[in-house]
């Protein structure tokens, strides 16, 4: 962490997460400064998703601090954190399947819908340009969308809560290569416009390509962290997560 720059938007210290007797995450320190795009990478079971759950309040950490905008939020319920601008797009396409895509959008903007309806409706249009697959199917049941389309919907829903910090778990899940590339570019653009983002991603090469900084998680601990470009060039990271370069035919 460099000493320069503004105070962190998110400051996690000594985070520990347990499921019953199993310690999933221990001693995790992590910061995200305003305007940053930070990635967390690591293998399955390393504890990436648990870290996001702990920060977002879906799981109550066993120990540690989660400072958001300088205030302790570790004991707050997830919905209170969303109201304060800490929003999580969970993995696994959790759409409200029986409701329409429009309803899913409105629920995404739930905290702003009453005050800010006109602005929200404008954002709907912007998001539909972003995700043209959802256009024209606005009144359709979300459950009738294909897997990849549901992933788009979940992302759109996360963006609609206008969070100060947007946390995304496994965005690439089930996206076609072309769409994945578009989405990554869009995230980068969104970040360029000032959106702070914390990204958990299995596809380390994609995440490192757009992130400023990244944390490498292994066995519930932060093993490495630093500028994304440095990590992408690190042989240790390459070996562990990016896979050995296959001989090209």
């Amino acid at each position: 962490m460099s000493s320069a720059g503004p105070d962190p938007l998110l400051d996690v210290r000594g985070l520990e997460i347990r499921y019953g007797s199993v310690v999933a995450v221990r001693g995790v320190d992590l910061t995200v400064k305003p305007g940053e795009l930070v990635a967390i990478i690591g293998n399955n079971g390393a504890g990436k998703t648990s870290i996001l759950r702990g920060i977002s309040g879906v799981v109550r950490p066993a120990a540690g601090h989660v400072l958001f905008k300088g205030k302790e939020t570790v004991a707050l319920d997830a919905y209170r954190k969303v109201q304060q601008g800490l929003s999580l797009v969970p993995e696994g396409r959790l759409v409200f399947a029986e409701q329409t895509i429009e309803d899913n959008f409105i629920l995404g903007a739930y905290t702003r819908w009453r005050r800010d309806r006109r602005a929200v409706l404008e954002e709907f249009d912007q998001l539909l340009t972003l995700f043209p697959q959802l256009k024209g199917r606005f009144r359709q049941r979300a459950g009738s969308l294909s897997g990849g389309e549901q992933q788009m919907l979940v992302l759109a829903r996360g963006l609609l809560s206008k969070p100060a910090l947007l946390m995304i778990d496994e965005m690439s899940l089930g996206l076609a290569p072309k769409v994945l590339e578009q989405m990554m570019t869009q995230l980068q653009e969104l970040n360029a416009k000032g959106q702070t983002i914390l990204l958990v991603e299995q596809l380390a090469s994609h995440a490192l390509a757009i992130a400023h900084r990244a944390y490498v998680v292994e066995h519930g601990r932060i093993e490495l962290h630093g500028p994304a470009a440095t990590l992408a060039g690190s042989p240790a990271v390459m070996e562990a997560f990016l896979g050995k370069k296959r001989k090209s035919a």
Binding site: Y19, G20, S21, V22, I41, G42, N43, N44, G45, T49, E91, G92, R93, Q133, S144, L145, S146, G147, G148, E149, Q151, M152, E170, S172, L173, G174, L175, A176, P177, K178, V179, L180, E181, Q182, Q202, L203, A204, S205, A240, F241, L242, G243, K244, R246
Partner: protein, 601 residues
């Protein structure tokens, strides 16, 4: 529960049943205990329905009544003895149970609860309105004293009858619970979709659960009729149904000990609360609410959870002695491995005017790795759901090794040797990792309910084979360290591997892998690559749906590309990679193929 804990548990139960009559102070307290024994039979049976199959019955008193009336009428009018009328009560109640199971084809949850309430009310009403048969509101009195084969069974002798019946019923139900039947019920209640895709007939499984709970309720009803020598409709009301359900939930749904404990507490509690007179019902309700709040898993369920917390169980499983993967996926008698050929011809699937699949023709050759790719929403999962029987095609046909499968239910298709994984993972979350794989093995287990109930050598041998095959498959996908963990605690990526192991346990000739690499790191994808090749080398055909282009190009023998429900290309990977239509529709500039194209131009 381990085998040792089971032995200890049943020894304690036997001891308890033998000692209590010695401590009974008077006729009344013995009689109260005998009432408990009868309620416990109902509770243990109802636990199968509620705790295992996850179905709520609020009409159990109706089944209890059916058994009671059947025994009362047969013994009084036709001179049936205890054994004959008990057997008749079981048969009649089972028939009603099967009838009651039928609505589960269409309704679940609260709607099913309403139907079971209605059933209870109907039985109660029939008992009142058919005085010729049931004695109407005055009921049936003068039921003969119990006897079997000429031997009178009054007083203490009847106590021993009840104690033995309860012991045997509990043992049988517990054994069923620890067999493929119990696993099937849990599986169906947790993910019906996955259960059907593994060859489980969900309707049959639920019917069996209903029949088992009805048979025990009917038997208990008959025993009650003989104990009381008088029955009337007001003994079988809705509130009795509620009490039976409470026994199961209060004790700890899903645990055999819990259902006994629940019956014990809820039989005695009202007696002790009688001293509160007017406040009796109030105190009863308050106590129930309080206990359920403090012990949300029921009395015994919460104890078990607490013990597990302080003494965590071993998560891993020992692989020594497990067979090789070849043997795990193939039954010895099934002969040489043989990949299945899937041929879909002109499949068209429409949803409300939207054409999801349009005249799709696709053939997977034996032992081939065939990739199916395409943009999001192109119809790939629709294709998988159609050939596995979950969707009915509007036109076209598909066959597997020459056998037409159109119109067959998913479980029947699965039994032909078509296994699948799910894009969003459909695991049996509350079953352990190894149990998930054992459910996959389910339709290869040939033992019957009798084998399971008395644990015959045949049962033991097959269960042992099933378990070691599961261990070997867990080793194959690298999950032996998590064997005893609940499946829902696995990270997403490992859940996908578990689905592969579970699908292989079904001994398939073709597996459909729906996005197995989603959520995996590059390194994990490389090991998946090896795994897929290994599966193919076992002689199993593979249809692979994926978005990771590198993986597809590396493992696939042939690739079919879908776009807007239409096949736009089908060829070997090299050709597909350079097909301009595929690049335009799917790969975009991100694909390594496109880079090659750029370099070339």
């Amino acid at each position: 529960m381990s085998a040792r804990a089971t032995t200890i548990g049943f020894s304690l139960l036997a001891l308890f049943l033998a000692v209590v009559p010695l401590t009974a102070a008077n006729e009344y307290s013995l009689r109260l205990f005998m009432i408990f024994l009868i309620y416990a039979i109902v509770s243990v049976g109802l636990n199968v329905l509620v705790g295992l199959a996850g179905l709520v019955s609020l009409g159990q008193a109706g089944l209890f009544a059916v058994g009671s009336y059947a025994a009362a009428i047969l013994s009084k009018r036709y001179g049936f003895d205890l054994v004959a009328s008990g057997a008749a009560a079981i048969l009649v109640a089972s028939a009603f149970g099967a009838l009651l199971a039928y609505p589960t084809v269409r309704v679940r949850g609260v709607y099913l609860a309403v139907i079971t309430i209605a059933f209870g009310l109907i039985i109660e009403n029939v008992a009142i309105e058919f005085p010729g048969l049931t004695g109407g509101t005055t009921g049936i009195s003068g039921i003969p004293k119990p006897s079997a084969f000429g031997l009178p069974l009054k007083g203490m002798r009847y106590y021993w009858v009840l104690a033995v019946v309860l012991f045997v019923a509990t043992l049988v139900v517990h054994n069923i619970k620890r067999s493929k039947y119990g696993r099937a019920m849990l599986a169906v209640s947790q993910s019906e979709t996955a259960a059907r895709s593994l060859g489980l007939n969900a309707t049959a499984v639920r019917t069996f659960a209903f029949v088992l709970s009805a048979a025990t309720a009917g038997l208990a009803g008959a025993l009650y009729a003989f104990l009381n020598s008088y029955i009337s409709p007001d003994i079988f009301t809705f509130s009795d149904s509620v009490r039976f359900l409470l026994m199961v939930i209060f004790g700890g749904a899903g645990t055999t000990t819990g259902s006994l404990l629940g019956a014990l507490i809820l039989t005695y509690l009202p007696e002790y609360l009688q001293q509160f007179q007017y406040w009796q019902t109030f105190a009863y309700g308050l106590l129930l609410a309080l206990v359920m709040y403090v012990l949300p898993l029921g009395v015994f369920g919460t104890i078990v959870a607490a013990v597990r917390r302080f003494r965590p169980q071993k998560r891993s499983v020992d692989v020594t002695g497990a067979p090789g993967v070849e043997d795990a996926v193939r039954d010895a008698k099934a002969g040489a491995a043989r990949g299945g050929a899937l041929a879909a011809n002109g499949l068209t699937v429409k949803f409300d005017g939207l054409v999801a699949l349009n005249d799709v023709t696709l053939a997977v050759r034996p032992a081939e790795i065939h990739a199916l790719i395409g943009p999001n929403g192109a119809g790939k999962s629709t294709f998988v759901n159609t050939v596995t029987g979950f969707y009915r095609p509007n036109a076209g046909r598909f066959e597997f090794d020459g056998l037409a499968l159109n119109g067959r239910p998913p479980y029947a298709i699965a039994r032909e040797g078509l296994a699948r994984t799910f894009q969003n993972t459909e695991l049996f979350g509350d079953l352990s990792v190894i149990e998930n794989v054992m459910v996959g093995y389910q339709h290869r287990l040939a033992y019957n309910a009798f084998d399971a109930a008395v644990r015959t050598p045949r049962f033991r041998a097959q269960e042992e084979r099933c378990r070691s095959a599961a261990i070997s498959l867990l080793a194959f996908v690298g999950l032996t360290d998590y064997a005893h963990e609940k499946a829902r605690f696995l990270p997403f990526g490992l859940q996908r591997r578990l689905e592969i192991a579970r699908a292989l346990a079904a001994s398939p000739r073709l597996v459909l892998l729906d996005e197995p690499a989603a959520g995996l790191t590059k390194r994990e994808i490389e090991s998946l690559d090896q795994m897929i090749r290994r599966i193919a080398s076992l002689g199993i055909s593979i249809l692979l749906i994926e978005h990771h282009v590198d993986l597809i190009m590396s493992v696939a023998d042939r690739v079919t590309v879908l776009d807007y429900g239409v096949v736009i290309a089908s060829d070997i990977p090299d050709v597909i990679q350079n097909d301009p239509r595929v690049i335009e529709a799917y790969l975009g500039t991100a694909g390594s193929a496109a880079e090659k194209v750029r370099e070339a131009s």
